[in-house]
Amino acid sequence: MFNTLLARLHQGHRTIEYPDAPPPSLPQRFRGRPIIDASKCPDGCALCAEACPTQAIAISDKPRIDLGRCLFCADCMNACPAGAIRYTREYRLSVRQREDLVVDSDHEMKLASALDEKLKRLFGRSLKLRQVSAGGCNGCESDVNVLGTVGWDLGRFGIQFVASPRHADGLLITGAISQNMRLALSKTYDAVPSPKIVIAVGACAISGGPYAGHPEVQNGAAAAVPIDLYVPGCPPHPLTILDGLLRLLGKIEEGKNLTPDSTIGK
């Protein structure tokens, strides 16, 4: 008993202050949002698109990266002879519309907006989610679980994972939706009372990820249910997931500086 109290003193208070203070700094080699400088692209070059394992890069006149397919592996960056693609440490990546995940050199990313006033009133202070894992690698699940640890303490935002769809306000879906999980996912969705929201976390749930095109999967959750928030990554960093959830609930004010340090973004 005495040792337990001493250990409590040793371990201290470790919950991050974010979003009231800047988030913990990310590792130097962290791969967040990629940036393309199309002006550097040699004529007719498609090496990035050929190197991409998930066909996330399309080149019409200039390259576009679909972050919904991107594994953030940097195979494109390493294949590019001109240094036209690089990965920044920008962790803010969540969007409300699928097409907003396609980034190019001309546009700023349109990050997720908050739910409408009615839903924000219902879920803003208490959001109970049922998690459905369906045909992935357990990487996204691991980093969703991390949000429940003392370091992140998701509970302080009123967000909680519940043990029944009947208790839930929505689903958080991971995985490419295997054919073998299709029925279980649609039954779970139907069991959540309306109004409800759906959050797709990770490349698999958005596009099928590395399994896109396999007959064993459905290339993401959108084939089965309507999606309200897309959180890209393979897997997304816990900070990316938390940022997405807080944006959806309107708990992050635009314009407030929440950048971990000045080196990311640009």
Binding site: Q28, P53, S133, G139, T188, Y211
Partner: protein, 538 residues
């Protein structure tokens, strides 16, 4: 009991291979089916293990070639053989050799061969067979009209006309009948952030007579998709076979690739791979110790370990940008080097995390309320572990000296030895304590390697794989031994790529641990194994 002298002649006919090496496919001897099975029985009697047993497609659809990889841990050697099955069935070896039970079910499902006499011949992952038009369960299946409407709707729209696709979770589950016997069914969707799987308990009051585990919900067709590679996706398939085991699976893949392509790796690359592998073990073992504490409602260790796990994941992210080691292990070596500043930073963080970790975990062994819940719960005997072919901490917790880093060393582990940690009680306590011993050894190993990192390049030239080769790679991941086997065709492409995740061996161990236990102890027993659904389902 047959003496070893009469057992060895048949084993002498098998080809031998060191872990992480390749052999000409022509040098793998083809045995008659009977000799093939006799070789397995002889090896198992000599305490050797079946690490892979799998089929592949043949140009003749009437024939299924089978390949066997045995591990002779005493001699640190692998033994290889092949045979051919003609037709649609073969006699099962499972009644005489339980450790092949899932391999035979897998062969049955993938190549539509009935294992005649298998006591538990059911689908494993619920997918169509790889031999078009052939199905091991064709006779047993209901037509669409007979199936329940809601289930019939669940059929994939892409289903071809030749036979009904299997319906996941629909099989003849083992049942115990009786007035006071009841059945508890759980899953596939679980009450937490957990992968999908289905569990059926046959209970008498609170006591579990039997647990049947039915998986396949995470099946995403990775083995099938690896055929024809290597291509830009191959390494990413390896990294996502089991996402919490990315480093171990990517290392196994790269070792297979390098053996097929006859590539050399630098000492620096091999050391960095070893460091990443042990960081992966640390993160997961520490997370498991915290989760075990959580399952017995001991919140201090649960809270602290949940956070300390993140410290180790973040060290991996310092190496390569990804907390799971994605992008680090690549054919020819590793994709990221470390400089003095990173080494220094990692050593400091390792010291701090070691202190926090020891402080948090020692509480478990000091708290009688924890120990009384860990001890004598979910016991697996040494004999059962041996028979079932368990691997990893689950096997070592039953007293088996079994660790691929020691028995079949590859990479850095040929030069730097990590002691094998065992415990003999086979219960939840033993599985927790083995993890704690391994945590301490891994920290020592990483510190030693960071301080004496060899100089040189981290990545060499990579050539394409050679044609008509077979390569085997065993890696001791944090859950236990994982095995990759690749066979190349005449163009050097993967003609077959077999993955055996440690969970494939160990799920039956969990079912066994639950016998005669209270059903309320299931979460605790389950966590003490912490097996992978996606690694099993592929």
């Amino acid at each position: 009991m047959t003496s070893s002298a009469t057992l060895t002649p048949i084993l002498d006919r098998l080809a031998t291979l060191a872990n992480g090496r390749a052999i000409d496919r022509a040098e793998v001897p083809e045995l008659s089916f009977d000799d093939f099975q006799q070789a397995i029985l002889a090896a198992v009697q000599l305490q050797q293990r079946v690490v892979a047993l799998f089929g592949m497609l043949d140009p003749d659809p009437e024939i299924v070639p089978l390949y066997l990889v045995l591990a002779d841990d005493q001699q640190s050697l692998l033994r290889l053989a092949r045979t051919r099955v003609r037709g649609d069935r073969f006699p099962s070896l499972t009644p005489r050799c339980p450790q092949v039970h899932l391999f035979e079910r897998e062969i049955g499902e993938q190549f539509a061969l009935r294992a005649e006499g298998h006591p538990w011949f059911k689908p494993l992952r619920y997918h169509r067979s790889y031999r078009p038009g052939y199905d091991a369960w064709a006779e047993a299946k209901p037509s669409v009209a007979e199936a329940k409407p809601s289930v019939a709707e669940a059929k994939p729209s892409a289903a071809g006309p030749e036979s009904q696709p299997p319906i996941v979770g629909v099989t003849d589950f083992y049942r115990v009948d009786g007035d006071e016997v009841h059945e508890v069914a759980v899953g596939p969707v679980h009450a937490g952030v957990i992968e999908p799987g289905h569990f059926r308990f046959q209970c008498h009051g609170e006591d579990v007579f039997h647990l049947e585990i039915s998986l396949g919900y995470q099946h995403r067709g990775v083995e099938r998709a690896l055929i024809g590679g290597p291509n830009p996706r191959s390494i990413h398939y390896a990294e996502t076979l089991a996402g919490d085991t990315s480093v171990a699976h990517a290392t196994a893949y790269c070792q297979v690739f390098e053996a097929l392509a006859r590539c050399q790796k630098t000492a620096r690359a091999q050391t960095l791979r070893g460091i990443a592998l042990e960081l992966e073990r640390l993160a997961n073992h520490v997370g498991d110790l915290g989760a075990l504490a959580g399952d017995v409602a001991f919140l201090p260790t649960a809270s602290y370990c949940g956070r300390i796990r993140g410290d180790f994941l973040n060290m991996t992210a310092t190496l390569c940008g990804s907390r799971f080691g994605r992008g680090l292990i690549r054919p020819g070596g590793v994709a990221f080097d470390v400089d003095a500043a990173i080494l220094d930073d990692l050593l400091k963080r390792l010291d701090a995390s070691e202190k926090d970790c020891k402080n948090a975990v020692d509480l478990l062994w000091d708290s009688p309320s924890v120990m009384s819940r860990f001890e004598d719960v979910g016991r697996v005997s040494r004999a059962a572990a041996q028979d079932l072919g368990l691997v990893g901490p689950a096997a070592r917790a039953c007293g088996l000296q079994r660790d691929a880093r020691h028995d079949q060393p590859s990479g850095i582990f040929r030069f730097a030895h990590i002691p094998v940690s065992t415990c003999d009680s086979g219960d939840v306590f033993a599985r927790a304590y083995v993890r704690w011993l391994e945590v301490q050894h891994s920290i020592d190993f990483i510190r030693e390697q960071l301080r004496a990192l060899p100089s040189g390049a981290v990545r060499g030239d990579v050539k394409p794989p050679c044609p008509d080769q077979l390569a085997v790679s065993l890696i001791e991941g944090w859950r236990g031994e994982l095995c990759h086997v690749a066979l190349t065709d005449s163009n050097g492409r993967f003609q077959r790529y077999k993955v055996v995740d440690p969970s494939f061996h160990n799920w039956t161990g969990l079912a066994y641990a639950l016998r005669n236990q209270q059903i309320s102890d299931f979460p605790l027993c389950n966590k003490s194994f912490n097996l992978s659904y996606c690694g099993h389902d592929l």
